[in-house]
Symmetry: C2
């Protein structure tokens, strides 16, 4: 008599996100009886997804029977996570709980042809799978471009020198089949594809600085342009065709530089690494990434008045853009990544003040603005997206 089938998914998600360290809190979080929570935990353990400690652990200074700790199975199944960025690609195996199980050395090839690069990164992931010998339940790919749904084409892979409309999802699926990345049924695992900032936001919500937020807004800039993402009640909001949160074309400087969108003074061109370097009077070199150059500048020469002034200028513009987003989305937390994160950490108060001042209700209850905390959050996010079917229905996903 197997019990707790309906609660299986929610329960796994609670353990996955670390919100259910014991069966007792699982009981409370699920709102079921102890009997059900126990059965659910037993079934998840039988499925090889979670581990229930044999020995109970007594928390200091508490009475009652000590509870057995619940955790993600250390040798459980994994998903293949892949990321393509301006300078190369990266592949990894990620278990439940966002644990990186194995990583392929990050390759630094300029990703010219989409099909080659996707084959290469999936090949690297497949190699990790073979050498680790672990079961694979899914695969996710993060790409620095808007991905149209449901076709899965990359609409603006600007700094990848890919053709617009590249069929990323199709290529990824084919590569997974070609490289023999198969699931429990023997068929190739399903592949999910997404924008890197979107996936990073998902990862931060599950395992990083976004934990517990109901309406999480994420804004980041890595190379050129600015990306945004919104996680609502734990699910990525990607709009009706995957193109939501293209925040780069909010006007933040009416007298600013022209943007390819036809307007001028867009967030995209006014707050990215190039804008910062230019504002600081530096000419970017070709050797390292723009993000790296601006990060270095910010960290080593913040005392220089011109650098500081440039940072403040960018912060003010970013604040204006964030305020606009706050007026529209009313998030309960904002996370910043890439250069925006560095700018926040350089002067947290200035950015918060601008946002509070320029958003309509900022004074009454201002929004917490925090830095992303997860390393490789886009990669972890790709894994999260791949885990989603398992979290939604563990039994179906393992069948």
């Amino acid at each position: 008599m197997e019990r707790g089938r309906g609660a299986l998914g929610p329960a796994l998600e609670l353990v996955h996100t670390g919100r259910a360290p014991t069966r007792a809190v699982l009981t409370a979080e699920l709102g079921v009886t102890r009997a059900t929570a126990g059965a659910v935990a037993a079934e998840l353990e039988a499925l090889g997804l979670i581990r229930v400690d044999a020995r109970p652990t007594a928390p200091a200074g508490s009475q009652g029977r000590p509870s057995h700790r619940l955790s993600v199975a250390p040798d459980g199944p994994v998903v293949l996570a892949a990321q393509i960025h301006a300078d190369g690609y990266r592949a990894a195996l990620v278990g439940l709980g966002g644990r990186v199980v194995a990583t392929a050395p990050g390759c630094m090839t300029v990703p010219a042809d989409p099909s080659h690069i996707i084959d290469a990164v999936v090949g690297a992931g497949a190699g990790l799978l073979r050498s680790s010998g672990r079961r694979c339940l899914g695969a996710g790919l993060a790409v620095p471009s808007a991905i149209a749904e449901p076709d899965g084409t990359a609409l603006n892979p600007l700094h990848l020198s890919w053709p617009a409309g590249a069929p990323v999802h199709e290529l990824f699926t084919e590569a997974l089949a070609k490289c023999g990345v198969t699931g429990p049924t023997g068929a190739p695992v399903p592949g999910v594809t997404g924008n890197d900032v979107n996936l990073a936001a998902l990862a931060e919500h599950r395992h990083g600085a976004g934990r517990g937020a109901r309406h999480l807004l994420c804004v980041a800039t890595g190379h050129r342009g600015v990306g945004g993402a919104l996680v609502l009640d734990g699910r990525l909001h990607s709009g009706s065709s995957g193109l939501a949160l293209e925040v780069g074309h909010l006007t933040v400087n009416p007298a600013g530089v022209p943007c390819h969108c036809g307007s001028r003074g867009c967030l995209d061109v006014e707050t990215d690494p190039l804008a910062f370097l230019t504002a600081a009077g530096r000419t970017p070199g070709p050797e390292v990434s723009l993000l790296q150059q601006s990060r270095d500048l910010l960290r080593t020469e913040y005392a220089d008045p011109s650098v500081r002034a440039a940072a403040e200028l960018i912060v003010d513009r970013l604040g204006l853009g964030l305020a606009g987003l706050v007026n529209i989305l009313n998030p309960d937390r904002i996370l910043l990544g890439g250069l925006h994160r560095e700018l926040l950490e350089a002067d947290p108060e200035r950015l918060r003040a601008v946002v509070a001042d320029r958003s309509l209700w900022g004074r009454s209850g201002s929004v917490p603005i925090l830095a992303c905390t997860l390393d490789f959050n886009s990669l972890i996010g790709a894994a999260e997206a791949a885990w989603q079917p398992v979290l939604d229905d563990p039994l179906a996903a393992l069948a």
Copy 2:
């Protein structure tokens, strides 16, 4: 053995929105067996919420056994709907299916003191309830101001000359108790309060031009300023504290007039009725509302070049604002109300072209932009919000 308790709410919602005209389609829509759908329908009928026709109706040119029509119970329970606007207030009783059962004559008093007006409108509604003798299950109030959640205070009741922060929800709840608007338990019915544009969007989604949209964006202007609303998967998205979709401060004219928000050229001041009248070179008179004046001008003098030019100017700015929202929210449908609706109908192609041109992915797949179709949509929306608990769990709401 009562069957179909869990599916009760979804089933009622399907009948409520007219998407389940017979038990057969109810079966299909719910994804359950005919047995369950039949039991659910029987139970809803027993609760007095829906009606199952005694005689079957045979659709022309179809074989098989003709089905019995499902409809909302004509003499079922109602909710009290109330609306306060710049020129007065309105009260009505609304049944399931958005049917207005009774209306109090719209009162045209300038609503100076919140407590008096709310007492008056609830009093009018209570009078309707007494004379109709129908059961009341809830009450909703639409207000032309952002309403902060969860406290229910009106943050910017600008054209009501109310104090900012007026405790609208509290006053509404008190008025309901004072006027003896009681539910099945004998206790005063719960009151829900919301922004008028938000509620209008909800109503349009359930019964109007928004039917079937998964991501519905609504933008409207009635008097001064511009309001927005977003309905996601059938639920109003009001942000983490009820303040989302304050779309009025998107920049649509960098060289425009200053706005009270500190910026200039905001949607709020560049596309409202006053902006249109001013652009057409007219000085607004005090006798009728700004909306009425601009509507009259648009309808009767559209041939006048200055009027037409003003309309096109406003349409271009509105298009810019909508394009910004499309980039951020990626809705699958846009609905316009108030003057914006009139402007759309005066020249649909121009607005659609501007939005397609200025939104990032507008060319590939442009968003349908339609006019609101429901009369008194804010009022109906207040009723919808009041019906929500019943739709979520009919048994609990009737207990």
